[in-house]
Symmetry: C4
Subunit: 213 residues, 4 copies
Amino acid sequence: MTPETGAGSDARETARLEAFSDGVLSIAITLLVLELRVPRVATQADLGHRLLELWPSYAAYFTSFATIGVIWLNHHLLFRLIARVDATLLALNGLVLLTASVLPFPTALLAGYLGQPGEKLAAIVYSATFLAITIAFNLLWLYASSPSRRKPLLRHGPDHPAVREVHRRYRLGPASSLVALCVAPFSPPAMLAITFGLVVFFALPHPVHESAS
Amino acid sequence: MTPETGAGSDARETARLEAFSDGVLSIAITLLVLELRVPRVATQADLGHRLLELWPSYAAYFTSFATIGVIWLNHHLLFRLIARVDATLLALNGLVLLTASVLPFPTALLAGYLGQPGEKLAAIVYSATFLAITIAFNLLWLYASSPSRRKPLLRHGPDHPAVREVHRRYRLGPASSLVALCVAPFSPPAMLAITFGLVVFFALPHPVHESAS
Amino acid sequence: MTPETGAGSDARETARLEAFSDGVLSIAITLLVLELRVPRVATQADLGHRLLELWPSYAAYFTSFATIGVIWLNHHLLFRLIARVDATLLALNGLVLLTASVLPFPTALLAGYLGQPGEKLAAIVYSATFLAITIAFNLLWLYASSPSRRKPLLRHGPDHPAVREVHRRYRLGPASSLVALCVAPFSPPAMLAITFGLVVFFALPHPVHESAS
Amino acid sequence: MTPETGAGSDARETARLEAFSDGVLSIAITLLVLELRVPRVATQADLGHRLLELWPSYAAYFTSFATIGVIWLNHHLLFRLIARVDATLLALNGLVLLTASVLPFPTALLAGYLGQPGEKLAAIVYSATFLAITIAFNLLWLYASSPSRRKPLLRHGPDHPAVREVHRRYRLGPASSLVALCVAPFSPPAMLAITFGLVVFFALPHPVHESAS
């Protein structure tokens, strides 16, 4: 029943999944530049004014880029620990990619409405997307690291420092995102502060990665 | 006449074809996020209303994402069985990519017309695209698994369980899609039920893949 | 002066160039689906009419897809013969990618004007792009296969059947494209017939590839 | 603490970072073709006129393509010298990708305003982006080549000719870009001359690369 067997086949499997995921994330990270549109005006002073007015688009581009960059980084760290994939893991990875690649939309929404009447609703949509991303990552990780599996998917046992560090970190994701979501209807800036703290936290050097340094 | 020979060259050939296919599919899966446009309105209540009105776009994004994800999965399973490629296989693979990458268009069409006068026509276009995708996959598979070939393209013989399982499954694709197409002019919801059943069916774990678990 | 030496380094070089080229071509082949826009109308009959009116867009999508597919195929065949890359080859490869990735624009232009007053101009622009593509491929190939090089870039000598077949084929590209360009101002359909003949010719099985069958 | 150890793991790390970077750059290099829109007019003479009017878009496409191509080339040369990556290098690489992938926007801005009232402001934005790109590349290189590291990230010592050549070249980048930025408010054409000189300079064959010839 096995077309190819052994570690070589497993490695090729995970490599192709990583390559496809990289493709999706590299497109999601780049697409928002299409939202930066050259304003059509006549005079020099007008152009300066119009370019400054576009600042929410620049902020959205930068924020999406940084966030999807950190998502890529964590996806990449995770797959350094994952030795094998199965059908459920593929589906959960798809969920991570779905939530991550939709991010440019709520980011543009929030950037467009910050400081305007609809900002609270935009903040709720934005933080709900973050909650969905952190839940998707946790489902992927909890499934991959489940100890009740005949042949484990992870490269290491549950007591390996890198595995325990991921457990420690990932617990923080949905909790902080939920707090951010609850805060969003009252104070969009407070929601943003919590969310950006989360992005910075997940950008911090990780023992899985540092081990390579 | 042979620039490189042996299994190493064949493996590199199929790897590059898989990488190109992954590129096309990862772009097709991500592009629809561009259709999600931030509505321009003034008040909080309006924004909520406008965002809710966009639900067909969200549904189209999710459906396209899931469908192209399942297409990727099946393309990937197929190429675990294919050991070598030739010119005809390249062309048939191109046909699969063509039908798959056009999918965002009929999906957006159906999402935009569901519950409106044009919904039956939109349902016909949508299910016809599915029929084209399943036919393209079957042509690829029938060519690849053709027994009357001096040097086979598949890694395994026709009696291998994984090969027989693909035969069993693929037969269902065009048949169900054809039923869906015939049902479309009478009941778009019934067409959608059959089509989504098909997507779920092809997302089920497959022995080719499970063998790696 | 050599960071890495030997065939391993050369192979990694060409592999990365191929991967980048595949990325550019897979985006160019997929982007045109964005031009297929869902028409906004009210009645069923109108929708059918509007969808039929879009046929030049469908034709442009299909034609671009097929042409860039054939370009990918030939790029791929070429790099099976190329063992090493240098700075000039990188630049010439960039020229191939530039002319190929711009193709969706003249294709959409021709599709939009066929049968209308501007069709001759559109036909000239379209066939000029084809001429540019064939010239770029020939520059790449003539540079790569130049015999007056101390350490050849090709995997084989000038008398290898695969090398001679590429020489034979490539000569036809600019010649036929030039004929098509000259015919364009008089008869766009005749130009299209020559051009599509060229695409089909370059899609034919090639000894470089067949050697792997 | 180390999931995988040794040179194999390091090589896989840098390979995945290069693949992701290639993905981002290949999208950035291709996206601008979407800005080339088929003009909607009636007569042959009008179409010719309208196509000629689009020349700034063509120039922007070509310039972006060439510049991002040269950025890809230099990124690629750099990673031939980099043997290992750490968290900071990943972040600095992200900065390079961010500044490079935003380039289509200032390029379209400058192309749209050259010869019009807003051209000086557009020239400032354009040259400031170039300055940001050269600074990002220098930060990446200075961090990677920093001698005060227990286990170096570079493949070679600081006296290796290829390493010294990169030092020599990279110094020129921010300096010339700064001059271009200072010149921009007075003479956009002079700014363009300096900037294009810089692009050509960084496209010149490099000993890292030539060593492979």
